[in-house]
Symmetry: C2
Subunit: 214 residues, 2 copies
């Protein structure tokens, strides 16, 4: 344990505390839902007094809104691998890998997102109508281009995307069920590798793309 060379600036204190709070909030909202997560509980998880949460985030809803927005950003960035790919095997394969990795590393975020959408997106409806819609249309166009170029079968691009989202996010959102069916044991590296390979194999084969992934 070393002494800090200099005291943190107010800006740094704010950043650090916001990070602590957001981390605790994401975990707590995921586990208990918006209604079940109390400010007291989030404060306990963050290791701060409840009043401090209200200092950084005036209302519970503003805190929740920030959590959902952050998740949405991570989620959108996963699609960067999609762009600039030569074809579906590379592009969709990398996208599946990226989304499976998010399910593994940020399961809480995925659950908060799922819960928000299930409850008719009370705080991010505008994102669905603008950003997500544009993103979806763009990726559908890419898939359609691959189809036109004969690089994959003529499947419905929209429902292919939905299948990718559903399947990859399932490993986060229903992680508890999967763990229970795994004898109560969390997934090992090998389990995740098997899951990834299975998902990629079935979907890529399903759209007429040969692949040699082990």
């Amino acid at each position: 344990m070393r002494a800090n060379p200099r005291p943190l600036s107010k800006r740094e204190i704010r950043q650090e505390n916001e990070r602590l709070i957001l981390e605790a909030a994401e975990k707590t909202f995921a586990e208990a839902g918006f209604g079940g997560a109390t400010m007291q509980l989030i404060a306990d998880v963050a290791g701060l007094p409840k009043a401090n949460l209200h200092y950084y985030f005036p209302t519970k809803e503003s805190l929740y809104r920030r959590v959902v927005q952050d998740i949405f950003q991570v989620w959108l960035q996963a699609a960067d691998v999609f762009d600039g790919a030569d074809g579906p095997e590379e592009g969709l394969g990398a996208y599946i890998d990226a989304k499976m990795e998010i399910s593994r590393r940020h399961p809480a975020g995925s659950k908060v997102w799922a819960s928000e959408v299930m409850h008719r997106a009370p705080v991010i409806q505008d994102y669905l109508e603008t950003t997500l819609k544009e993103w979806t249309n763009g990726r559908m166009a890419v898939i359609q281009r691959w189809i036109d170029e004969g690089k994959m079968d003529a499947v419905n691009p929209r429902h292919l995307l939905y299948m990718l989202w559903a399947t990859t996010q399932h490993y986060a959102d229903f992680g508890h069920q999967i763990e229970t069916l795994n004898g109560g044991e969390p997934y090992s590296d090998a389990d995740w590798a098997e899951a990834k390979a299975s998902v990629k194999h079935i979907i890529l084969t399903g759209i007429g793309v040969g692949q040699d992934n082990a």
Copy 2:
């Protein structure tokens, strides 16, 4: 408006009121989550005074428990089509159809189930460990048999099941997102038919099963 030929027996009154309450509860729990759904709100949806709910279901949790149990039954019954099928095209095709139909007809139930599992199954953990586990093992054995008989490719049966669950339930759990991406319009008969056909085509092709479904 006709007069009832005879007054309802107490048993019939109980059945009818329980049905009203359970219907309202499923809808409300799905839309607002366990914490967000208040007994007052459920009572309003059911058209009954709040105190009556406590007469039929002593606590909020007992009402919720009953809702989840009922959903689980519907969900398990959908798998009847699985058994007695000659091969994967018939068995899995019918299973996908059945699960898509449940997503269409009982989206609220699917959401309550998803929410329950996401929150680590506080009330149906025992079902996951017993009934669901046995069900899953049984169906995995059927799939493995089809593989051994050369009727489909050698994919991992467990992950194939997860993909079926994820993909079909996605159309209920994320129905709001799908509707938003559909221009705010609910899915028509044609939309559902297209979704079903897409899901069946990709998955059945993905496991090496030819199919001629339109």
